[in-house]
Amino acid sequence: MQTPEYFEFLNQAKIISGKKALEHIPIELDGFNSRKPLVVTSKAVSGAKLDRVLAKAFYDSNTIIGGIFDEVPEHSSFSLAKELSILFKGRGCDSIIAFGGGSVADVAKGVNIMVSEKNEDLLSFIGEGKVKTRLKPFVYIPVSYSDGTEMTNVACIDHRIIKSDFLYPDIIAMDPRATKGCCRECVVSTAMTALTHAIEASSVAHYNPVSDTYAHSAIQFIYENLAKGVKSLGNARAGLALANAAVMAGITFANAPAGLIHTIADALSSITGHNRGTMMGVLLPFGLEYKISKKLEIRGELLLALAGLDEYVKTPEKEMAVRSLGLIKNLIKSLKGALPEKLSDMKIPEYHLNEAAKIAFNASGKKYKEQVCLDVLQHAYEGKSFI
């Protein structure tokens, strides 16, 4: 194992996971001297009556819920953040709980910036490092859907990005009641986002031993639990394991530059409006194949995370990458159609591919060449193998 010249790593959140984790939130907030959180969530959560579960979890504590706002739409907006900040101040809240995936966390982060920085103009924080003060305590409660950014230092509101290390959640509370699968598509998309992020974050180019520990846990949890979680959505153990994977992968993702597959998937989903996680799932095997075909090294440890020690030590080093790829393909096959096999199955017009490659090239700061992106996209479109 070589030692990296230099690396940095930060995981701001305290992770609590498992039975009755929700009940632990009041005492964790108390550790921040906070007694009155505002809960931000969506209809998906309140529809499953999870908002009631959360309210009940606060029984016998001294923590008052300042309000449960359950109408965050799929796309977050500045105007909603502003309204919520008024609710926050009106009720005299001192912390925020984001209960749900994607836009819920984004809006909550936006609200937190406004109320902590005491600045109504959220637009002035767009960009990196504009947030200067420590924010109010922020709790994130994952559900079975995650876009892979809730636990990171990024908030995406109205397609504008705010990035700052202060945006990391302070507490992430995973409870099997909340992380039970809501639909097959959600579970697959979340897991594929996490798997892609974890694999790309632990690639050769930016080897980081601390980040690796998170990535490997994530990969292992997904490999062992995804098929189970998709097959029976009520499987609480699998749901919890997948949520753990999503959180860990998100944290490594926040500590590593975006990889090739992430960048392409992000570009294509922004054009077509398809779910980004599904896109990553479709692109992942082709992206890996591309790397193998170009002899771009794939870390042997990937196999260790996927297959476990016994198989890993038996495999010759040269075959590790191909073997890992095989396992990932098998995993996708075992989902029995919950994930499209190729892009053409998703009814994406072929002319979008060129555009996506261009966007990916620019988004990556010209790191991933347009031709490379297009190559991967075309193979994924036709389902054609690189090898």
Binding site: T3, Y6, K14, I15, I16, S17, K20, G31, T213
Partner: protein, 421 residues
């Protein structure tokens, strides 16, 4: 991978590691709005010229407010109060602590006082008294073993009452841990060996402890691998900067692992032996580690078997049948201790009998074993060991460790097989 039915994990420390990591400190301070840090350290560190190195790297860009280099070996609350006074009079706004366990604990104490106000640390005794963000604290460890740069508790002594007070709060975690191999380069081989084994032990115990969790597992395995690949190399060639950096990384990984999963029998006996006979912590760790594993074979044998891979590498792991792996792992650790013993000219100890101080006086006479066992029963680490530890058990293990012979496993009282997490 084991997913416990419940776990908590927290390590808010930002890790900055690399050959020129010290040079990143000014930028990191600026991001936290601080420009006048105080440096806290002990005489050993400043005597080795390390403070010059730090202030050289930092001082070009920020003004260092004050340097305090007289932290005693056991962090004392009076020292904390005194340092806080200096901090205020010099108008500092952040702390850089350079050193091992004691300076880091002291700095955490100082941070409580200068952030929350007051002149006496005793006012903040007890859990739950620190509930808000403190001043920026940057830790620069110099021993690569203790991992206290990653732990949340500050242990500070009150010598008048002869007690040690613990201040546990997540806000005591340093904001940043800076791992730079130049800080550990001067550590002589006979000290590098036990501190490396200290980190190694943290990781092993974290992997088999009751409070293990997925993240403590993967970080433990990484740490073990880094130590077993680099420790002997560095002891033989102290100027190997890459190896030094690997050990510093290992120590930090082990620190974040054990501070979240806690430790068991090895630390239980180690703390007691250290307390009764004033033996350095690292020496106790390397001696007790094989016993700590053997004692728990019947509960977590499979997990101990897993450790063989990071300890001995893929080939040995593949060659060894599954059943024999735990014993092989323990044998490899004993061999590592032996190799370190040879490489340091006998200054790395293999058993309790061998431990001597500088004048050659035996530190752990056989008569003290019962007292050590009694002390061990009152030490908190036993809670996290998978098998129960009573006075008789502790004494039995101590007697084996005194002679340095493998544990007679028939003497272990077994409370059931296997362990669920």
């Amino acid at each position: 991978m084991i997913l416990p039915s419940y776990y908590e994990f927290c390590c808010r420390v930002k890790t900055i590691s690399g050959q020129k990591a010290l040079e990143k400190i000014p930028g990191a301070l600026a991001r936290m709005n601080s420009f006048r840090p105080m440096i806290i350290t002990d005489k050993g560190v400043s005597g080795a010229g390390l403070i010059k190195l730090v202030s050289g790297a930092v001082g070009k860009k920020v003004k260092i407010g004050a340097i305090y280099d007289d932290v005693p070996a056991d962090s004392d609350y009076k020292v904390v109060n005194a340092i806080a006074k200096i901090y205020r009079s010099k108008g500092c706004d952040s702390i850089i602590v350079v050193g091992g366990g004691s300076p880091i604990d002291t700095a955490k104490g100082v941070n409580i006082l200068v952030s929350l106000g007051g002149n006496n640390l005793l006012d903040y005794c007890g859990s739950g008294s620190v509930k808000q963000k403190l001043k920026p604290l940057i830790a620069v460890p110099t021993t690569s073993g203790t991992g206290s740069e990653m732990t949340l508790v500050a242990v500070i002594a009150d010598k008048d009452r002869n007690i040690k007070m613990a201040f546990p709060s997540y806000f005591l975690l340093p904001d940043i841990a800076v791992l730079d191999p130049r800080m550990t380069k001067t550590l002589p081989p006979f000290l590098t060996a036990p501190t490396g084994m200290d980190a190694f032990t943290h990781a092993c115990e974290a992997y088999i402890g009751l409070a293990k969790n997925p993240l403590s597992d993967t970080s433990a395995l990484q740490a073990i691998q880094l130590v077993s690949q680099n420790l002997l190399k560095v002891v033989k060639n102290p100027n190997d900067l890459n190896g030094r950096l690997a050990l510093a990384n290992a120590s930090a990984l082990a620190g974040l692992s054990f501070s979240n999963s806690m430790v068991g029998l090895v630390h239980n006996l180690g703390h007691a032996t250290g307390g009764v006979c004033h033996v350095p912590h690292g020496a106790c760790m390397s001696i007790f580690l094989p016993y700590g594993l053997e004692y728990n074979f019947h509960k977590v044998g499979d997990l101990i078997g897993d450790l063989l891979y990071p300890i001995a590498g893929a080939e040995v792991f593949a060659e060894t049948p599954k059943k024999a792996r735990p014993e092989k792992a323990v044998a490899c650790i004993r061999q590592l201790n032996q190799d370190l013993h040879d490489a340091t000219g006998g200054r790395h100890f293999r058993n309790l009998k061998e431990i001597t101080d500088r004048s050659g006086k035996q530190l752990v006479p056989k008569e003290t074993l019962p007292l050590i066992a009694k002390t061990a029963i009152g030490d908190g680490s036993k809670v996290y060991n998978t098998e129960e530890i009573t006075y008789d058990d502790a004494l039995m293990v101590l007697e084996h460790a005194y002679e340095g012979i493998p544990l007679n496993r028939k003497l272990i009282k077994k409370g059931g097989k296997g362990q669920k997490f």
